[in-house]
Amino acid sequence: MGQSSDGGVRILAPDGTIEDREAREALDLKDEDLRQIYRFMVVTRKVDLESTALQRQGELAVYPPLIGQEAAQIGSGYALGDDDFVFPSYREVGVAVARGIDLVDYMHFHRGTWHGGIPDPVGKRFGMISVPVGSQPLHAVGWAMGAKLDGKTACAIAYFGDGASSEGDVHEAMNFAGAFGAPVVFFCQNNGWAISVPIERQTAGEIYRRAEGYGFPGVRVDGNDVLAVYRATREAAERARTESTPTLIEAITYRMGPHSTADDRTRYQPEQQIEEWGLRDPIDRYRRFLDTEDVADASFYQEVEEEGKARAAEVRKGIAGAPPRPVEDLFKWVYTGDELPPHLARQRDEALSMLEEDEDA
């Protein structure tokens, strides 16, 4: 693959032309895959924008947009096998799209209907949405160690940000993965910012080079080149599954939106930087590639546009106005079993009796 000066390895140039033809030829992607990747990127963009709109309309409590990071998320998510396990942070709607996660289920988290993420994380191979920054890579490593003990050939992939790379937990996770030969891919989306703190203040090092200190490979990839991300993740996942070798991938991308809908980024994010990165939009870039490759026609783009809108509308339909859970759910899952321990049963009874009083009133 080509090597940009500091933006990581690429297959596509920023203008969508093929920079590394050999690498492009070697990709194990059929035309259908190429189209599917585009579809996922567009769906992600639409759902993401709709979610921001839903938040503005009071239908979501808060939402962290991923706009600009679609290539990093779809490229990596698409590279995984069915048995591989995703451990997301809180900004991975794109990965959820690529993995076929029910997006209404997902959005309940942001509506505040319930916590934690989608129901049945184990069955869906999509772990808890993790707000405590940097805490989830350890879960990925644990799962991977467990899968390896069972002789499974599957890997875990842990998503985290440039800011998260400063947390102790992320270091401990990488060191454990190296020491135990755990089949994990550490996928860092370096989007330039941790809320208001730019990467230059986050660290004096280069994140992908941390891997050297743990004895496994680190790769920096152009995070806005969906094919390069796909390829790097594919290789890393393969290395994890077959050689039990972890990999750290640093995908250089950019947070085109605010940190979250609660953020005022005009206080810190330079306009000019946003404009510059706007020219490197990952979807435009990939579409230019598709155009030159001749794998999609106008009707495909039309269809994808429709599908994106439809998926966004589905999310809106499923989430807008969704009622809160019943009050007794407050007590249901603190411990296993239908019978609550006495101290909790008392509290549940009090909470429910307050409701009755309300109704009576």
Binding site: V131, V133, S196, V327, H343, Q347, M354
Partner: protein, 324 residues
């Protein structure tokens, strides 16, 4: 009389402290240009420079540990943890070092660190953003734990916390950041370690701190409509506790409840009850009851109103102690 919000009063307290003592530093995640996610450090970096007010990498144990090191170089760091639950990665540095350095060094080290922690629920936030972790700190010997309930007192308490030679965990009830109070900001208000009676009463005492003081006052007003006279005590400081004010009020009223957002089991209410058991037993005409968050994880935003103590639950508990 000027009117300020609690948020503004806290900003003013930081500004005052930066001006008064050039060894005071402010550090934390996003405290610089952004002014913190709640804007409490708004404008301070521009005013005092990047050396005295600075953003750190995203690592809370480091924020605490580095603050300790800074004290050894003669600085007085005021560190911000972005939200309650994000203070947990720093617990080891706080418990094993910050709380104990003075003791462990046989008094030869002084540890003038303040850790500011926005805490509590009621603002519709995402998970991990609404916890009330005061117990973790109050149980840790060697710390002081301070929680203001009103804007003016927030100013006084924060200034005094920064002046304090010992480590102070300064909990900011985030649902009250926008609450207003009129009057002059004064560094010479009540000291740390003193509770205050917010409203005098004769039938029962309601003990609270932080955001629950206001809720308690609302309940007291509602009770007054039924001619019940409730005394409201704002603890202000959880450690060291003001045993005297607490006991004096309950000796007078003979009945008490304590209200807090944190879960019941070992929430600070348990300590209040235990102190009243010891210091006011023979005056008690009813058991001291606790009105608290449930012993569950903090719930999602859409259900938090059924988790946090509200006026109805407080009135219910008052009725139980009054009719005992």
């Amino acid at each position: 009389m000027p009117e300020v919000t609690m948020g503004q009063a806290l900003t003013q307290a930081l500004r005052y402290s930066l001006e008064e003592d050039d060894r005071v530093l402010i550090l934390g995640e996003d405290v610089g240009k952004l002014g913190g996610v709640f804007r409490i450090t708004d404008g301070l970096q521009a005013e005092f420079g990047e050396e005295r007010v600075f953003d750190t990498p995203l690592a809370e144990a480091a924020i605490a540990g580095v603050s300790l090191g800074l004290t050894m170089a003669g600085w007085r760091p005021v560190a911000e943890m972005q939200f309650d639950a994000f203070s947990y990665p720093a617990l080891d540095q706080v418990i094993s070092h910050m709380a104990k350095w003075r003791y462990r060094s046989a008094g030869t080290l002084s540890v003038p660190v303040v850790i500011r922690i926005p805490e509590g629920g009621g603002i519709g936030a995402a998970e991990h953003h609404s916890e009330s972790p005061e117990t973790y700190y109050a149980h840790t010997s060697g710390l002081k734990v301070v929680v203001p309930s009103t804007a003016l007192d927030a100013f006084t308490l924060l200034v005094r916390s920064i002046q304090d030679p010992d480590p102070v965990i300064f909990m900011e009830p985030k649902s009250r950041y926008w609450s207003k109070e009129s009057g002059d900001l004064s560094p010479d208000g009540l000291p740390i370690g003193a509770a205050r009676v917010m409203r005098e009463g004769t039938h029962a005492t309601l003990i609270a701190w932080g955001a629950m003081v206001q809720r308690g006052l609302e309940a007291a007003e509602a009770a007054e409509e039924d001619s019940v006279s409730v005394e409201v005590v704002d603890l202000r400081t959880l450690v060291p506790p003001d045993l005297e004010t607490l006991a004096a009020s309950v000796r007078k009223t003979g009945r008490a409840i304590v209200v807090h957002e944190a879960p019941m089991i070992l929430g600070y209410g348990a300590e209040v009850v235990a102190r009243l058991m010891e210091d006011a037993f023979e005056y008690l005409e009813a058991p001291v009851l606790r009105v608290t968050g449930w012993d569950t994880p903090y719930p999602p935003a859409t259900l938090e109103e059924h988790y946090l103590p509200n006026v109805d639950r407080i009135l219910g508990a008052l009725e139980r102690v009054l009719t005992y």
